[in-house]
């Protein structure tokens, strides 16, 4: 990059090697006016990411501001995708649901049963999760952090494009699971960035990163589903 005295710095998104993620080359040319806008403009999924200007380098956490470290941790876990091996871990995370702890009997099911359960998930509970999502979003908007939020969601959706993509483009069940996980992931990203403590989406975000689909309370059970026909084999 060429330093121009007096000019405002512009920002580029780079990969772990410092290459512009769009071109694979060192950053050049005009960038974006802020770290968040640089993240929001990147068209390519890559992890890890950083943003650079002539003044230096920021991690995703630094670029997003307060709560950015939690978003970075979440997306790092999504990228790593290491499944929980122990049933107990899944249970602990599943019970820490976004709208409060759920003490119903746990049912870990295959994908078709997960879709069946999703069709009968308790509507009041789903509405409560939706309200949590909306509250976190509203908190960020009120705090003047809409750009940070859009940047975080953009990077999350970029990564989800690959990580949550159904293997089979005709498999309706896998699309349902993927859509549900996207909805929860977007909620988790906004919640993490909002700084709410404890983070109500943390447990389920970790389940999603590990490849599970936490469905919710359905027919008197707390249902956690495989996210694809092949998951867990």
């Amino acid at each position: 990059m060429t330093a121009v005295a007096g000019a405002a710095p512009t920002w580029h998104v780079v990969d772990g090697e410092g290459r512009d993620v769009s071109t694979g080359r060192p950053p050049r040319g005009p960038g974006q006016p802020s770290p968040a806008s640089a993240l929001a403009a990147t068209p390519v999924p890559a992890w890890p990411l950083a943003v650079v200007s002539r003044h230096g380098r920021l991690s995703v956490a630094g670029a997003l501001g307060p709560g950015g470290d939690r978003v970075q941790h979440l997306l790092g876990a999504l990228d790593a995708g290491s499944p929980f091996a122990a049933h107990g871990d899944v249970e602990t995370m599943a019970r820490a649901a976004p709208a409060g702890r759920i003490d119903l009997p746990l049912a870990i099911v295959a994908l078709p049963a997960g879709v069946e359960a999703a069709m009968r998930v308790e509507p009041e509970w789903l509405a409560a999760v939706d309200r949590r999502r909306t509250a976190c979003r509203q908190h960020l908007v009120t705090a003047g952090r809409e750009d940070d939020m859009e940047a975080a969601l953009h990077v999350a959706m970029l990564m989800a494009t690959g990580h949550l993509d159904p293997d089979d483009d005709t498999d309706v069940d896998a699309h349902v699971a993927s859509g549900a996980r996207l909805w929860l992931l977007a909620g988790a990203v906004v919640s993490a960035l909002s700084g709410v403590d404890p983070d109500p989406f943390d447990g389920w975000a970790r389940l999603i990163a590990a490849g599970w689909w936490p469905v919710g309370p359905s027919d008197g059970r707390l249902v956690v589903s495989a996210s694809s026909p092949a998951f867990g084999r």
Partner: protein, 236 residues
């Protein structure tokens, strides 16, 4: 522009630039139209549909579809970036995206009919002269086909219900009218350039006629509803 239509294949962005800026501009216009329209579709229809969905399963499917349309936008954007087209954010999306989505019924009919228009345009690009565009479309078409099949399946269910069948008919009437301009004007200098360079092979009217035929088959034969009169010629 050479006198005879270009009949070759262009393997990458370097070959495109070697062929000349007229070729790059022609490919660029097609790519940029998809960059804009995939994003506009996700924002105008798919994201709002998440809130309109009648149940969790439909909600999750709408999420997934919104994600895929946004993913398509990103992939076309990357192609534009590789071709060094420059800013893709200017201009406006097509008029079909002015449609005000207000119900789940409209959304599923929209997926069946409007996404079929996108399929018709993408299928034509399976023989485009610019191979990176052709290869991208090969990857994206299965997802677009899924969106249409989703729309058709849910529309078939709704038309079985006497209370929702009239709403389906209303949506068909409105959406067909909104989608006719999607294919461009009958007299189009852009389309002539696209065909000259082998980026596309059909006139706008031929593509529109293909879409009308497939939509009519679905609406009349499968749904048993009335398909509105459509003039395959459109000049704004």
């Amino acid at each position: 522009m050479t006198p005879a239509p270009f009949a070759g294949e262009v393997v990458d962005e370097a070959a495109a630039h070697a062929l000349g800026e007229d070729y790059v501009r022609a490919v660029g216009k097609v790519v940029i139209s998809h960059v804009r329209n995939e994003l506009a579709g996700a924002a105008a229809f798919d994201e709002p549909a998440i809130a309109l969905a009648p149940g969790p399963k439909e909600k999750w499917l709408a999420c997934r579809i919104a994600m895929e349309e946004y993913g398509h936008h990103l992939k076309f954007q990357r192609l534009a970036s590789e071709l060094e087209i420059g800013d893709t954010s200017g201009g406006r999306a097509l008029s079909v995206f002015d449609y005000q989505l207000s119900s789940w019924t409209e959304f599923v009919v929209l997926k069946a009919l409007v996404d079929l228009a996108e399929v018709v345009l993408m299928e034509e690009l399976l023989t485009t002269s610019y191979l990176p565009l052709r290869n991208l479309v090969v990857k994206l078409l299965p997802e677009e086909h899924f969106h249409v099949s989703f729309g058709k399946a849910h529309t078939r269910e709704m038309v079985k219900d006497l209370t929702t069948a009239p709403l389906v008919q209303d949506a068909v009437d409105d959406l067909v009218r909104f989608t006719v301009p999607f294919f461009g004007r009958s007299v189009s200098a852009n389309n002539e350039t696209f065909r000259h360079w082998g980026v596309k092979h059909r006139t706008n009217d031929e593509a529109r006629g293909e879409w009308v035929g497939r939509c009519r088959d679905f609406v009349e034969d499968e749904l048993g509803l009335r398909f509105p009169e459509v003039d395959p010629h459109w000049n704004g």
